[in-house]
Symmetry: C2
Amino acid sequence: MTARSDLYAVIMAGGSGTRFWPLSRGARPKQLLGILGGPTMIQATVARLQPLIPAERVLVVTTAALAEETRRQLPMLKPEHVIAEPVGRDTAACVCLAAVVIERLHPGATMVLLPADQIIEPADAFQRALAVGADLAAQRRLVTYGIAPRFPATGYGYIRVGDSLSQDNGIGVNQVERFVEKPDEETAKVYVAEGTYRWNAGIFCWRSDVVLGELEQHCPWLTAALAPLADHWGRADFASVLDGIYQPLRKISIDYALMEKAKDIVVVTGEFSWDDLGSWDALYDHLPHDPAGVISQGQVVTHDCLDSLFYNSGRQTLVAQGVEGMTVVVTPDAILILPKGRSQEVKKVVDALKASGRADLL
Amino acid sequence: MTARSDLYAVIMAGGSGTRFWPLSRGARPKQLLGILGGPTMIQATVARLQPLIPAERVLVVTTAALAEETRRQLPMLKPEHVIAEPVGRDTAACVCLAAVVIERLHPGATMVLLPADQIIEPADAFQRALAVGADLAAQRRLVTYGIAPRFPATGYGYIRVGDSLSQDNGIGVNQVERFVEKPDEETAKVYVAEGTYRWNAGIFCWRSDVVLGELEQHCPWLTAALAPLADHWGRADFASVLDGIYQPLRKISIDYALMEKAKDIVVVTGEFSWDDLGSWDALYDHLPHDPAGVISQGQVVTHDCLDSLFYNSGRQTLVAQGVEGMTVVVTPDAILILPKGRSQEVKKVVDALKASGRADLL
């Protein structure tokens, strides 16, 4: 594994996720929670990069509301490396902003972009895949990461892989044939059966100058808007200049702005397990359960229960008797109860609370 | 309806009930809770006697631990009429104690004994039945109250009725043929089908001198022990004398001590509805529910739920999404979740908490 001294990481941590309501809140989204016990997801994300990418070369792009707590959780990062977007303008702006900053810090550096709230194990397999991608990126390739699908997920985008460029030490490198949107279940089953599809992990690697060049070609208004920012890095007016640039920007994702347009993208498929932990049901696979399939976190007493998740971060004792197939989450100001397997409905709950003016709970 | 000026009521309120855990606690049993909203059950019990038995002729027998709160909830009662048993010695001792006191207050008075935690409606039908029983009691009869069974309950004792003595204005009076213990379901079905059985409501009426005479005949050690108390009524040493008498007493219920032995008991069957509210499931019938059968008490938000009870007396917002057939109870220090229809299992929960040293929750 090559330890490149020009390799930077950019952790995208702007999510305001509500999928773990009532535990996750606007002011405390999933990445800032230790939802599995132990470190928070963003702390785990930084730790998982070590030693390949030391903390001094890790940047975080987050929101103004979350920047202070993010810096508090990541004291090993330079405070100015936690960059606060004044408003959310989708992923292409985030990538472009990060590339402008990194190109300023280290011209021609290689940068890995990754979400703050994924579960990836083990770290060494992940770092080996990152290193393979970084070497390709240093050769001016655009690199994305794919996950061999474990089931016909309908919640992820997919990547259809083309020619194999290498297959070494468990790490496959292929040409990207095309990116495809979240499929319906029928289609997802076909994708899984065919073996030529990967889940799109939302992890990318490229040189800062290369991605700026690509964006200039495919989305020139974006680079034109952000380029002037380089001169303000490290200066007192950085935040206000960023604000002036960001406010009028229209939103566009990196997928639309770049990935679906660029030629010659490669996909690296590693031997690590990956979960973007999109719901309470997904969490079920990551916490220890008893022989009856019952997960108890916090102050929980269960009798005769089956196949349920009891997640108590409140002060009360939670007692469940004869409960089957339920998810129960307790926080100091809210309690959520819903059937296991239906945790995508948390979104409905959050929408309804919003509609009924219960912003205090969001 | 005769308004007898010699008619007293004795409310038996010693229950430490755990069947409504976590709402009911050792220090706050069911009768001291406003479980239906509004007045507490003991307050409702006193109110239900008005105007037949005015507050100055109502006594309460409770435990030392509950006496203060009971007096606080019933400021219209004379404080000394809330009598605290130093220890629980079952219902025969309670009845004998009350009879000794009432005989001292008003020799030859008629006394109705009734539990503090039943739901009886409407009050006027109940009072009419009480008045009929009181007139019979004044003629030196032992009177008990029966409820026409609505379903084959296995949680109640039954009374088999004999000859009809009168049937007037919806109130039946019969000779008691015999008292029977809580039946199994098969037997209960037979009882309901035969039409000659009543639920034993645990409500009695008799003259104080008559019941003391009957107890002297059937349980002489009890009257011998309690008789000396009469001389201490209204004196500073009443509580300590009562303590000295009660501590060594062995426990015996009024059913064993008297009802199953005495000849010539009559049973009054009234036209009031009656529920001893023995469980969370029983409560379900007494609270308003929406068209989907969902009861929401307190701060509760439900979507797509069916046939469930959400009882929130905590400070959190309780949100239920897609929940069917569950009972959920929230208090500031405990949350209980169990399937609807299985609320008799609350006892298991309480026993387990006791066994595991969680007296703080009991």
